[in-house]
Symmetry: D2
Subunit: 151 residues, 4 copies
């Protein structure tokens, strides 16, 4: 599927600035790895204080990085005067979230004027071994001219 | 819909102990408010370091508390020798997550031998005002006899 | 949660007319049972030609009636000059779809200007016995002034 | 991601026989186009009696073919003595379902002993033009030794 061209040529700076305002990313130690038209990747090193009861990365933290990756992938194709909000998402957990480092890839599948649909994948890396541990399908919304919601 | 009776009479202690092992709950400042058969409620005070770019609670943090509430609601009806894992969930964000305190109510809709289906609701409280900001529908799985996955 | 009042006083006639144009409802034998503000119920008698391989009602037919019920529940609160489209939905199948008659209840949880979130429940009736067999969480969209999409 | 090898060498015959028992596929005019390990494709010609109120293919019919494609994709990797059931699915509707012919591709993403996760895509064909109109993420379950649920 062809992805629409970015209409805001400053999309990468805009996403980087918006990511920097996400205080939760600082708290958990996540980083922006890649910004391209319709694609954003975020990395998160494993930390023992981000886990559920069995020592796996908590599903909410997996969601944090992949929702952010999908949202910014959607934002990369939106006009300059908009903000992005998550309408909803669905996450399947494919395997226990065990690894040294986690990569969250968000990708636009269909960009509309109001609604953008994304898919996301979270990969756990343990040394040279890679394992896809989660799959997201998400609906993002472009918000125009609402106070406080601008990226 | 009638909910099955707990088969493990120690379910509340077991859930409290499992919650205490969720290191992410400590990091974000969440607390267990209520444990009943098929129902768990978690509270989270607002903190500026848990937010997305517009200053709302990040969807991943909303997910963290409501996924945990749903998972433990499911666990409350499972036998003593099992662990609970999230298979998948879907979250709709109904309104910006603005408030002083957030309540995540998880509830069992159907408890099966392997699969338990839950619904969850997150309520934002700002003084006396309440607002439902998120809705979850989740699928949980009882895990029997797998090493490292016991609650 | 309080549901907004209908802004179109002719909402019931409008939904009935729109339902009558859904040719699939005629093909499968579904009927409109109830139209109220933010609530629509559809009935479907069991038929052997609507089944999957084990003789249960096919998940796609369950989806047909509950998606329609949710969509029209959303439409009941939309202005007169709009159409309704399903953005997405998620369906959990709680039990095999066995029964003489199926009731699909769709209900608005949050009605916004563009996005309306609904929940839906499908109940199988076998004589006096009732069983909730499916649960939906759905996102509907109001469409303004797009040719061919008006209800 | 590598897909597990089929353990049942007769998987194609088994899926074809199970598809033939899905009476709804006959009613709507759907056909099995492709069966491969972890992949199933179903076709459906447009018919005016399968539509919603605007003349687009109804979301429940789109769901019927893509849920069946995902379910049989999952079944292709399951042992011979099992049946497949849909636990849940989520469908995003990307564009109005307009076309002469619809293709539903279901694909296994992760095959487990009990739970298999699939993704599905529905493509509308209008002459030489193709358009992806729907995206599914689904959870399937292998059922062992339950009477009446065998494929």
């Amino acid at each position: 599927m062809p992805i629409a061209e970015p209409t805001d040529t400053q999309y990468a700076e805009r996403i980087a600035a918006s990511f920097a305002r996400q205080t939760i990313m600082t708290l958990i130690g996540a980083n922006l790895l890649e910004i391209a038209p319709g694609v954003v990747t975020i990395t998160l090193p494993y930390r023992a204080d981000l886990c559920q009861q069995h020592g796996f990365l908590h599903a909410g933290i997996i969601t944090s990085i992949i929702d952010t990756a999908c949202g910014f992938a959607a934002l990369s194709l939106m006009p300059a005067d908009t903000g992005v909000l998550s309408v909803e998402f669905k996450l399947n957990l494919l395997a226990p979230a065990v690894g040294d480092m986690f990569l969250a890839h968000g990708k636009v599948v269909r960009a509309g004027r109001t609604i953008t649909v994304c898919t996301g994948e979270v990969i756990a890396m343990s040394g040279a071994k890679q394992n896809t541990i989660a799959l997201m399908q998400a609906t993002m919304m472009a918000v125009h001219g609402r106070e406080g919601i601008k990226d």
